[in-house]
């Protein structure tokens, strides 16, 4: 029952869903509790669990109505030990970024919002290993964090209609790469040439919750080279 200590609240989420909220002093701690519970549940290979959708501090458990109900979910949570990630369970990715790339350059604006020089912004973004908190919103969209407090940057007042695929962006204390062209309200740092989402599944980078990411500065020539190679 020790793990109930990490669970703050459990709520129904529809007929076939239960959402669990987790405690923690920081967002990273809360998210670790989410991931540990998701791993614990996955390890049990319960065939009546249809889907485990992790949020930042929550886990949505969707189940097969024919074979389960909320009471079975509660009982199962009580009997499930959260699991820390094993070493080989998560991948580390190094994502190349052409900072200040045409079409994805808010460096001046970010500089204004944070008071940092453009070099400091790039430095803070490349010097840290980020953790993927969750993947969602769109296929392959990975929410990573947490940014250095100095780089904290509010969203745009009005979102852009179009952000190019591969745009590397920051908002609040999070960073992300837009896997495909979409509207978006985050501040753009540059562009990553590696595909993070292809409908046929051939993308070289598939970010999953718990994975770690570092960003590597490249120049325009290298960007073009890599973009061509991954067409």
């Amino acid at each position: 029952m020790q793990f109930f200590g990490r669970i703050k609240d459990i709520q129904p989420a529809g007929i076939d869903g239960v959402i669990i909220y987790f405690h923690g002093d920081t967002l990273t701690e809360k998210n670790e509790a989410v991931q540990a519970m998701a791993r614990g549940l996955k390890a049990r290979r319960l065939s009546w669990i249809k889907s485990l959708i992790a949020g930042y501090d929550s886990l949505l458990v969707l189940f097969d109505l024919q074979r389960a109900d909320t009471h079975l979910v509660y009982r199962t949570l009580r009997q499930t030990s959260p699991r820390e990630a094993s070493q080989d369970e998560h991948s580390h990715y190094e994502l190349p970024v052409w900072y200040g790339a045409s079409g994805a350059d808010d460096l001046a604006r970010i500089s204004e919002k944070t008071g940092l020089s453009e070099a400091d912004i790039i430095g803070l973004h490349t010097n840290q290993t980020f953790k993927v908190f969750t993947v969602g919103f769109a296929p392959g969209f990975a929410y990573m964090g947490e940014l250095d407090e100095a780089l904290r940057c509010p969203r745009l007042a009005s979102p852009r209609k179009k952000v190019p695929a591969g745009a590397v962006a920051i908002a609040d204390r999070q960073t992300a790469v837009y896997p495909s062209e979409s509207p978006g309200g985050w501040n753009l740092l540059g562009r990553c040439p590696l595909p993070l989402f292809k409908a046929d599944g051939t993308q070289p980078v598939t970010l999953r919750a718990g994975d770690t990411v570092t960003f590597l500065e490249i120049d325009e020539a290298r960007f073009r080279e890599l973009a061509d190679a991954h067409g």
Binding site: P12, G14, I15, K50, I53, A54, L65, G136, A199
Partner: protein, 322 residues
Amino acid sequence: MPMGEIAITEPGLQLLVVDAGRDTHAQETGYCASGALDQLSFELVNWLCENDLDAPALECMGEMQLSVSAETTVAVGGPSVSVWQNDEPVPAWQSHSLQAGDTLRVKPARMGTKTYIGFGGIIDLPVVQGSKSIVTREGVGGRNNDGASIKSGEVLLVELHQHHPQRALKDNEKPDYSLEKPLDVVVGYQHEHFDNWQQQLFFASEYQVTNDISRMGYRLKGQAIAYPDTDLYSEGINCGAIQFPGDGQPIIMLADRQTLGGYPKIGCVADYDLYRLAQAVPGDTITFQSISSDNARAKWLLRHRLEERIFDSEDADNGDDT
């Protein structure tokens, strides 16, 4: 199996291929659930064609027309839809045999409802995450796997079944799309954070379906519901979740919803009532009533049993059960 061609001559307002949706685990990597908005009508046209209940079918809005290149079983279902085979009116909710060169035309009485057209066979399209559903928002699915809806002049290939069932729904087996009864809502998510009287206000109010409806979600308008300021991180959204953005007007999330979102939610429309919502058109009035998750599950199981009785009936007639 012979391949047949279905040529779309008039696609209507929007024509998509849909099925039961993606693998249930696809949402964990950000793919939307996808699939038919009105799963009940979708399953029924598949049953009429003697298909697996999750076989791909057409979902269309407005008047559409197609022709076939070979003998093909078709079945059409949806709210008050008229059907013509070669300009001769034929009934909805039963299987028909189209001959090579025949045309099929459908026209719903009200603009905006969804009509489902099943074919006796398997539509040949790319499979993404276990589904052939076209998801326009993601640019996924369809012949070129780019999420484009089906246009006039396009041809769909179908691996046709060689048997041609004659099935029809009895009147009492056809879906009741009426919105007179409230939609059941399993309260949950952030409901405890809404003041009690705001919850009561929501369940006591009538809401209109707005023009702002899509496969992602339906925006309603009516009594605004207030929600105290809180920090809410993005979290998983189940189908039917009722969320309130800043203006306090409900949005009900549907098949193509994003997997995560950060608006407060009061609960979730029960799965068995979602087809009625999906068939509502702008201006329709909707009301809600709360139900516990246990009672909702019991109701779901009962409805499911009734549907299974329809789906199993033909087998019993064929003596497969004995």
